[in-house]
């Protein structure tokens, strides 16, 4: 998964903006979408694309390259959860750099598929006079699930969301001077840019020195990623016009209604599940207590590549607040279970610290299938819930009970029609619709 940012300035004096500063903070806000590799590109004045990329997080890149940060008043950036995943730079026939969230169906391998997409875009911008129409046709033709933002040597910024709409993309502007796109609205907020609305399914927007043009979005209502609401998106974002915080609260409430259990206290696993636990507490009437303090950086366990890093990440992350649950029956709320090791660690930590019983409630259905659109849900063999039933699972992680939301409950909590939600990862060999 990746986080995308695009920054475009207009008008007199635009050469005074330094796009990299905006991209820097926009990407920082999107690090929840990945912090393995980060890259950016800028342009202006002139026709040279300046690029920079590096391993690790956004701060690392910007602080270790202070003198070589690309300058320009237009730019794009990407923060990625994949190792060595940088902006694709196509030099000919039409020079451009491209960032993409999701996966096109041009190749088995995500990186190759993105490169092929960038090359086709370059080819077409070179040969077609009606570039908007042609880009729109390209996006309709190439399947998969993706959003992208590209920057060309002619100071054009091209951005789009394919008709499936599985990957989010939002637009924003400031006064008459600045327009921007980002994977999530939180990045726009952090850049000080007013959110104007989502890029619609099948919509392409082209920012050029002459104008801003958009095609007519498809009437396809889209097939939005439900995991964005559960875990991926930041709490202060809106995804497809729904506030993530509101959805997470309803997930908690739904969970409390359908999976009630007798207990003394509700504890959420930081960070994502805290708002779900909050909804659970409000609906059930059980008090919610802060159960853990985090140490070190906010590492998103599900997105960290190796088993060892994951375990260190979890241990660093969660130091229990013992007094909150000593000798108490606990409802432990988490957003999802991937390999189960995070959960096992957490449950054991609670019990070692004196919890009487731990009932695990998960704010999403069991993850049983990998994501075809590039979210790092591991192969089926590594998904604990795909291989064990609830009872086996409970005993494996050391919980007194465990239960997951059903697909119907999650859909109800999100509040969108079933056919508009992609739930492939929750379905055994399921289809998109």
């Amino acid at each position: 998964m990746t986080g995308l940012v695009g920054f475009y300035s207009f008008g007199e004096g635009r050469e005074n903006w330094d796009a990299s500063h905006f991209i820097h903070y926009g990407l920082s806000a999107l690090q929840g979408r990945g912090q393995e590799s980060v890259s950016l590109a800028t342009i202006g004045p002139g026709s040279t694309l300046h690029t920079l990329g590096g391993k690790g997080g956004v701060e690392e890149l910007f602080s270790s390259n202070k003198t070589s940060i690309p300058k320009g008043f237009i730019g794009i950036g990407q923060t990625s959860s994949y190792a060595d995943d940088y902006l694709v730079h196509v030099k000919a026939p039409y020079e451009l750099v491209l960032a993409l969230d999701g996966k096109t169906d041009l190749h088995e391998n995500r990186g190759e598929a993105t490169k092929l997409f960038a090359r086709q875009l370059s080819q077409l911008l070179h040969s077609e006079k009606e570039s908007l129409k042609a880009t729109s046709m390209l996006m309709n033709k190439i399947g998969g699930g993706y959003s992208f933002v590209a920057l060309t040597h002619k100071q054009e910024l091209v951005t789009g969301r394919n008709p499936l709409g599985v990957k989010p993309l939002e637009t924003g502007s400031v006064g008459f001077d600045i327009a921007a796109v980002a994977s999530e609205t939180c990045a726009l907020d952090v850049m000080g840019i007013d959110h104007t609305g989502p890029v619609e399914t099948g919509e392409i927007i082209m920012f050029t020195p002459e104008d801003i043009r958009g095609n007519t979005p498809t009437t396809d209502p889209g097939n939005f990623c439900s995991y964005e609401y559960v875990y991926l998106a930041r709490l202060d974002s809106k995804v497809n016009t729904l506030p993530v915080a509101t959805v997470r609260n309803s997930i908690g409430r739904e969970l409390a209604k359908a999976h009630a259990v007798k207990a003394d206290v509700v504890i959420g696993v930081p960070e994502t599940a805290l708002s779900i636990a909050n909804g659970y507490s409000q609906e059930s009437g059980l008090p919610q207590e802060p159960g853990f303090m985090r140490t070190g950086e906010n590492i998103r366990a599900a997105l960290v590549p190796t088993q060892k890093e994951r375990l260190i990440g979890v241990q660093l992350k969660l130091n229990p607040v013992k007094s909150a649950f000593e000798a108490k029956d606990i409802v432990l709320v988490d957003d999802s279970v991937v390999r189960g090791n995070t959960l096992r660690n957490t449950v054991l930590n609670l019990k070692r610290s004196g919890a009487q019983s731990v009932h695990v409630r998960i704010g999403s259905p069991a993850l049983v299938s990998p994501c075809p659109y590039g979210v790092e849900i591991p192969p089926k063999d590594e998904l604990i819930a795909g291989n064990l039933n609830e009872k086996e699972l409970a005993s494996t992680v050391g919980a007194d009970s465990i239960s997951f939301m059903t697909i119907e409950e999650l859909q109800h909590a999100i509040g969108l029609p079933r056919q508009n939600l992609c739930m492939r990862c929750f379905e055994k060999g399921g289809t998109t619709k």
Partner: protein, 510 residues
């Protein structure tokens, strides 16, 4: 009766259209700087003619008016007013509908407008400050940003209308972007100063105002100097592209109706806005000793500190807002003009339709507004039967009718489409169906804003209005509307509004 119009945009085409519908059957004459195809046709159909000439040159205008022996002149754009065209005509004994040179200061000088408001402590104003040069502006801000918090979030404007120099909004809210914002601010001050240096007629070159947010709307009025008569509210959309993004334009389209207010502005806010405009007209007349007769308008915004607030003033009708208003006007326009000329507007029963909402959308060539030279000279083709079949009206703007009847783009806003319906969204849909009937035959692009008049954009305005209304009502209920109260560590409570009043009036009056 013979009437002459001045100006060649879509607003003037609409004025000519309305004159052509009058029961007085006036002969219609016109002077414009472009051969506007629409005005040209109306003049021809009404025993008159369109002459191409400099509309800011009093000699040209007076000579034409006298030559044609017209009874009345109506001035469309602001520039002729700035150059004293109405004054020159009246000196010759020709009646003119249009603000005189001295009174048009309310539009020409944004700094003078603010000063007028603050000197008279009128409601609906924004904190402001003027500077003679860029250095003064940046020094002042740097020195005072700690003790006058409003300086963090400002709008920078040229203090006087100045060839294409626009409004810049600098919100300095993110500490990590502070240096970035400061650098941009100072560079813009420098560039403003460079472009304003050519104007020796005013001392202040740079104006800064507190940044306000909220829904904007225009209230256009007729006035004879004694009465200010409000017309239906119109909302214009200044950004070039959908979702209010992109560069500032003269206006890409506007909505009004189906009654005197807009779906997101209350009647009470309408009345307050009218009072605010009356106050400015009165203060301007008092200051200049001249009578204001013609059109006047407020580009208003609901703001959290003041409620209805003036962003800028018009000394004329807006373009495209005029088209909304004229489409809704049921009274004969000659009756309105005569009432202005004879100073009896208070007796006029002016009527507007209450059944129809109006949507207006501008079609512009790619390149407008930032690369006009590229947008100029492209051949236009219009499928008029489609326009009519969809119930749309077409008003030509920046267009040039050639000898061979071909129309070429002029580089600015090409034309405006207007449609009426019971509510805004179906009217907008009519125009959407019609835009493809307008093409440039050389393949150069045209654009317009598809979002104007849609449910989606209305909902956005509505939500903005509700949020800002809650804030200003809170202040109103506590009797502190108009104050800018803050508490600063080591300084205590300050009210930037009182500070400014005291500075302008001296301590005793504030």
């Amino acid at each position: 009766m013979r009437v002459m119009g001045v100006g060649g945009g879509a607003r003037e085409h609409a004025l000519a259209w309305k004159l052509g519908l009058s029961d007085y059957k006036p002969e219609i004459f016109w002077v414009a700087e472009n051969r506007n195809p629409g005005i040209h046709k109306i003049c021809k159909d009404n025993q008159g003619e369109l002459r191409v000439g400099r509309i800011t040159d009093p000699k040209t205008i007076v000579r034409s008016a006298r030559g044609w022996g017209v009874d009345m002149v109506v001035v469309g754009p602001e520039e002729p007013g700035f150059h004293g065209i109405p004054d020159a005509l009246e000196k010759e004994g020709i009646q003119c509908i249009g603000a005189s040179q001295e009174l048009s200061i309310i539009e020409r000088s944004k700094a003078d407008l603010r000063r007028l408001q603050w000197e008279n402590n009128l409601p609906g104003k924004l904190l402001f400050r003027t500077f003679k040069n860029a250095r003064e502006a940046s020094d002042y801000i740097r020195k005072n940003i700690g003790t006058q918090p409003w300086l963090q979030n400002i709008v920078i404007k040229p203090a006087r209308q100045s060839g294409g120099k626009g409004v810049k909004l600098i919100e300095d809210r993110q500490i990590y972007l502070h240096n970035e914002k400061e650098r941009f601010k100072e560079a813009y001050f420098d560039s403003l100063q460079a472009s304003m240096a050519a104007y020796s007629d005013i001392e202040d070159k740079i104006l800064i105002e507190e940044k306000a947010w909220g829904p904007e709307y225009s209230l256009q009025c007729f006035t004879d100097g004694k009465t200010v008569l409000g017309t239906p509210l119109v909302q214009d959309n200044k950004s070039a592209h959908d979702f209010d993004s992109g560069p500032e334009t003269g206006g890409m389209g506007s909505i009004s109706g189906p009654d005197m207010t807009l779906p997101f502005i209350t009647r009470e806010e309408y009345d307050k806005s009218l009072k605010i405009i009356e106050g400015v007209v009165e203060a301007a007349q008092k200051k200049t000793g001249k009578s204001y007769h013609g059109m006047v308008g407020g580009q208003m915004m609901l703001t959290e500190n003041e409620g209805p607030t003036i962003i800028e003033m018009y000394s004329r009708l807006g373009d495209p807002e005029a088209i909304n208003m004229l489409a809704m006007l049921k009274t004969d326009i000659i009756d309105v003009f005569q009432a202005i000329v004879e100073r009896r507007l208070s007796k006029l029963k002016i009527e507007f339709t209450s059944e129809d909402a109006v949507v207006v959308k501008v079609v512009a060539p790619s390149g407008y507004p930032e690369r006009r030279e590229k947008a100029r000279g492209h051949p236009v083709q219009v499928f008029e039967t489609n326009v009519k079949r969809n119930g749309c009206y077409l008003f030509w703007g920046s267009a040039e009718l050639q000898e061979d009847q071909q129309v070429l783009t002029g580089g600015s806003r090409l034309l405006t489409l207007m449609a009426m319906d019971h509510t805004l969204p179906p009217a907008s849909a009519r125009i959407e169906k019609t835009v493809s009937s307008i093409q440039l035959t050389d393949g150069w692009g045209l654009y317009h804003r598809s979002d104007i008049g849609t449910e989606q954009l209305l909902a956005k305005r509505q939500s903005e209005a509700e949020r800002v209304r809650r804030l200003y009502k809170y202040m109103e209920e506590r009797g502190i509307l108009g104050s800018r109260m803050e508490w600063l560590p080591n300084v205590g409570r300050i009210d930037s509004s009182q500070l400014l009043l005291r500075e302008l009036h001296g301590p005793e009056k504030a």
